[in-house]
């Protein structure tokens, strides 16, 4: 597996794969997380990268979230979410942009909120088939 780098080389806090944290995690810099975290992660305006060894059981609030490992929790990202091919995510995603690599596993809902998008009105698909029928191509 090719090495996974954090989103860029600016200030990045690093949690190595042997580290286990239980509780609230917050910060004002980007975070690369390759260990185990249980709780909540608040990185408003910053990015979170979950490394391939990362095991996260937490709700996440950040600007950008990139997942290479396991994340069990909801993600709210103001800009984008990226699930790489080794990602396993269980939880709901709320973001502006989403990118999912082939091979990523995801269970949950995705709500893409484009900038400037107004609160949508909910409709119901109305389909009225003409009774049970066999139609051949």
């Amino acid at each position: 597996m090719e090495p996974v780098k954090p989103l860029d080389s600016r200030q990045v806090a690093n949690i190595g794969k042997s580290v286990v944290i239980k509780g609230e995690l917050s910060g004002s810099e980007d975070l690369y997380l390759d260990g185990e975290v249980e709780g909540n992660i608040e990185l408003n305006g910053n990015s979170l990268t979950v490394g391939p060894n990362g095991r996260v059981r937490a709700h996440v609030n950040a600007r950008e979230v990139v997942v290479n490992g396991h994340l069990d929790g909801d993600i709210s990202a103001t800009e984008r979410v990226e699930l790489r091919k080794s990602a396993v995510l269980v939880g709901d995603i709320r973001t502006q942009r989403i990118m999912i690599e082939e091979g990523a596993s995801f269970k949950g809902s995705i709500d893409v909120q484009r900038e400037g998008k107004t609160e949508p009105k909910r409709g119901t698909a109305a389909y009225e088939p003409a009774g049970a029928a066999v139609s051949q191509k």
Binding site: I100, F106, S109, I110, S135
Partner: protein
């Protein structure tokens, strides 16, 4: 008359050693779908629908549906059903699936109701004990007049009919992709789902008896397409 299985078996026969399966997993077979066309027409003029995809995760489908402003919920039902932790012993000592636990951990949407469901051919591959409970649960989480798209293999498909990921490629077209190898605990595990049963029309009608109506489409590749209205 070519079948979906034929298309993928050609890839297996022609594959080279180690890369064969990897290449097979990358290859996508094209398929026209009349039922998909009707499904897409039904959702075309609606806003902000809530759609549930129960096949293997498809980034393609997620992108296509979210681009249209829909909220998408995705859950790979068959992978969940294969979880070894669901296995229990029944009164006779036989290994079976803990249905209650399965329904507690899957298809549990905290009150969320769906306008449309993509079931694909998952029902053909589900363990027998899960088929009826899963359909009942889907019925309970669909809004009235919601639509469900499902495929069922005919008898001619054969027991080796491959389990595929369905990507929506257009208004009436799909791309089928073999479910790729899965790494488990550092070892590479090739997952092959086997066709569990063949439903006939009567079975399908019975399966969806709590729904309002069904429409069948029979395609050339021995896949019966069904559009169901809640």
């Amino acid at each position: 008359m070519s079948t979906v299985a034929d298309n993928f078996l050609k890839m297996f026969r022609g594959g080279t050693g180690g890369n064969g399966s990897h290449r097979d997993a990358q290859h996508r077979a094209q398929r026209h779908s009349t039922a998909l066309n009707e499904f897409m027409r039904a959702i075309a003029h609606e806003e902000s629908l809530c759609i549930l995809d129960l096949g293997p995760t498809s980034a393609n489908n997620i992108a296509l549906l979210t681009d249209r402003g829909f909220q998408v919920y995705t859950e790979d039902l068959l992978t969940s059903a294969a979880d070894p932790e669901l296995m229990i012993k029944d009164e006779l000592g036989n290994t079976t699936i803990d249905i209650d636990r399965f329904l507690k951990e899957n298809l549990a949407f905290r009150g969320q109701k769906f306008d449309a469901v993509l079931l694909w051919d998952v029902a053909d591959y589900l363990p027998e004990v899960l088929v009826k409970p899963v359909i009942e649960r889907i019925c309970s989480v669909m809004k009235p007049k919601g639509i469900l798209l499902s495929f069922f293999h005919t008898r001619d498909a054969g027991p080796e009919a491959p389990y595929c990921r369905y990507h929506i490629a257009g208004q009436d077209s799909l791309e089928l992709q073999l479910v790729p190898k899965v790494e488990t605990n550092g070892a590479t595990e090739e997952r092959h789902y086997r066709l569990q049963r063949v439903f006939n029309n009567r079975h399908i009608e019975n399966l969806f008896r709590e729904f309002a109506s069904l429409k069948f489409f029979l395609a050339r590749d021995n896949l019966r397409e069904v559009l169901v209205v809640r």
